[in-house]
């Protein structure tokens, strides 16, 4: 469903990642999960300065360069490792095991992609070292190593994209019993989401039905919220459409096109208007900028100090 929406709004795969940051923060971790340890970003940062020479202006790597994003990924990977350890440990009851297994499956693609990226990075640095150390030797060796380098760079590129896109968003309705208030025989609910059920004379049946209805309503709310967010994101791109809210200037005298949203300049209006490479480049730049802004806004909301527990927002009341 999200893929569909994504396409219709023309946002890049990185939008998926935005969902994760939010959902990752929202998902319920088991209480015994330790906090993610301080990030050792060295391999990543090191890798990026090298990559910049070989890769195009890659949105994925731009995003990954951000501290908050790296921290988030590291957090999820360490969660995966922790869960794997606990499952191997074997001292779990059935229901816990089920929950952990499910989470492990969710995190597996990300963890694998991350691991592969790490390996690729290691290979890359190895090749680089070889290149630098054997600088005096034969040209053939040099060429081979250079080739190797570009290959690995491409691998890293693809893996970065994978890491980002692999976190597909799920609207998971987890209702924490602590957030539920069950009032039997109440006719008027107080605020929040309510579900009322008086269809049966059995209170147990009423409660089951009401829970189902509540779950459905919360899902609807969450879905509505997500789509509202998407709409506002789109509105940010469209702008105010006032006369002074100019987005692009075509200067024929100087043969120059300027896009004011990102300060992008290109020459050769003819080529641009033909819809060639120049236009594609501009569009890519614009999308990257939009995602960057959206992500930063998101990360600003979830400031690092605060932990967001998994619960539906507001008070949920269930009227039986």
């Amino acid at each position: 469903m999200h893929k569909l929406v994504r396409l219709s709004y023309g946002l890049c795969p990185c939008y998926n990642f935005l969902q994760t940051v939010q959902n990752g923060a929202r998902s319920t971790l088991l209480s015994t999960t330790p906090k993610p340890h301080p990030v050792t970003c060295l391999p990543w940062k090191y890798g990026f300065t090298l990559l910049r020479r070989y890769c195009d202006n890659n949105t994925a790597s731009d995003l990954l360069r951000l501290d908050a994003v790296q921290r988030h990924i590291q957090g999820l990977v360490s969660e995966y490792n922790h869960i794997t350890r606990r499952l191997e440990n074997g001292l779990l009851n059935d229901s816990d095991r089920k929950v952990l297994n499910r989470r492990q499956v969710e995190l597996l693609p990300l963890a694998t992609a991350y691991q592969n990226t790490e390996n690729a990075m290691a290979d890359f640095t190895e090749v680089e070292c070889l290149l630098q150390s054997g600088s005096g030797e034969d040209q053939q060796m040099f060429d081979l190593l250079k080739e190797e380098q570009t290959q690995i760079a491409k691998r890293i590129d693809a893996l970065n994209k994978e890491v980002i896109s692999v976190n597909n968003s799920q609207i998971d309705v987890n209702i924490d019993p602590k957030d539920l208030r069950i009032d039997t025989f109440r006719s008027k609910g107080a605020g929040g989401t309510t579900a009322e059920c008086q269809q049966s004379r059995s209170q147990l049946q009423n409660r089951d039905t009401a829970m189902r209805v509540l779950r459905a309503r919360i899902y609807q709310q969450m879905f509505h919220r997500e789509s509202e967010k998407r709409k506002t994101a789109r509105r940010h791109q469209v702008g105010t459409r006032s006369q002074s809210d100019r987005i692009r200037t075509y200067n024929f005298t100087q043969n120059r096109v300027t896009d004011h949203r990102i300060g992008y300049v290109t020459r050769d209006i003819k080529e641009f208007l033909r819809g060639g490479e120049a236009l594609d480049e501009l569009i890519a730049e614009l999308m990257a900028q939009a995602d960057r802004e959206a992500l930063l806004e998101l990360l600003e909301q979830n400031t690092p100090g605060q932990t967001i527990e998994g619960k539906a927002s507001g008070v949920q009341t269930l009227d039986l």
Binding site: Q198, Q199, S200, R201, S202, L204, Q205
Partner: protein, 317 residues
């Protein structure tokens, strides 16, 4: 006890109902006839809402518990539904027919005597089943719906399940058979009239071992019997409630028989008074009832310790 006819009529006038006045003997009969007599109420066209409100007020004035719900459940039943919620909002303004009005009055008069609603409408829901109810057979309580969650969600939903039911009351046995027949379960349940306290050998002889024993025995402390609501004292079988001085009379007997009635690792579920779990644990430990193991105490929807789960752990079957 009943409002005088003229008072009712003036009240109805204020409610702006159409009143069709009849001449002759019918006019002399009051709107609210005594429950004993077979007299019909005067023909007055009331809306569902007004009739329900009228009797709710009547219940409240007479100190009947849950006045609003009582009136609503009875009205829903008269209109052919389980709850008012199932009928939709439009029903409130509908006018009752003569028959409906008569029926409603008859049933509400019964409720006025503190008869439980379940006996008034002669049925009630237990989880996903609707069961017939009749005094003095014990009415299943809502908390008991929780105890049946573990061994089986419901006998109806697990077709391979077979059951043997035992009760000392002939009425209870008859009503259970009636409900079993109505639900098409007669081939899967055997019902015997037996008393666990005196017919132990018969039970052991007649009933082969079972994988689960479920009981909601009489477990009230004798001294607590007097503080019960009129609904219970006046209408329900005291033998289904009284468990002796410490409420453990029948429980103890069940504990003694359980090892011989259960298969290896079979489970025993007991619904008890909140004071019983530690007493039962002690009982099981002290008397070292051959291979009976106390597993856990479960809580009801009001968070009181109400259910004891025990297991038979013997070496031979």
């Amino acid at each position: 006890m009943f409002p005088a006819p003229m008072e009712v009529l003036s009240r109805l006038n204020r409610m702006r109902c159409t009143i069709r006045l009849l001449k002759g003997p019918e006019r002399r009969q009051g709107l609210c006839s005594a429950s004993g007599s077979a007299a019909r109420p005067a023909v007055v066209r009331l809306s569902v809402q007004d009739a329900t409100a009228l009797w709710e007020r009547q219940f409240r004035q007479s100190g009947v518990s849950e006045p609003s719900l009582s009136s609503q459940y009875i009205m829903a039943h008269v209109l052919g539904a389980k709850t008012m919620a199932n009928l939709g909002p439009d029903v409130l303004t509908k006018t009752l027919t003569d028959i409906q009005t008569h029926q409603f009055w008859k049933l509400c008069a019964k409720r006025l005597t503190r008869m439980p609603v379940q006996y008034v409408i002669e049925e009630w829901d237990f989880r996903d089943l609707t069961l017939k109810m009749r005094p003095p057979v014990f009415i299943p309580r809502p908390e008991t719906e929780g105890v049946a969650l573990e061994p089986s969600p419901s006998a109806c939903s697990m077709p391979y399940l077979r059951a043997v039911a035992v009760d000392r009351s002939a009425e209870a046995v008859r009503l259970t058979q009636e409900n079993a027949n109505r639900l098409g379960l007669q081939d899967r349940i055997e019902i015997h009239q037996l008393d666990v306290t005196v017919d132990a050998e018969v039970i052991l002889r007649e009933c082969s071992r079972v994988s689960a024993l479920i009981s909601n025995p009489p477990y009230l402390f004798s001294k607590d019997m007097t503080s019960l609501e009129p609904e219970i004292i006046r209408f329900e079988d005291p033998a289904a409630l009284d468990g002796g001085k410490d409420g453990m009379l029948i429980i103890r007997q069940i504990l003694a028989l359980a090892p011989q009635l259960l298969t290896h690792n079979g489970l025993l579920y007991l619904e008890v008074d909140p004071r019983h779990p530690p007493m039962i644990q002690q009982c099981v430990q002290e008397e070292r009832i051959a291979g009976l193991h106390y597993l856990q105490t479960r809580y009801d929807i009001t968070d009181r310790p109400r259910f004891c789960v025990l297991q038979r752990r013997g070496t031979e079957d």
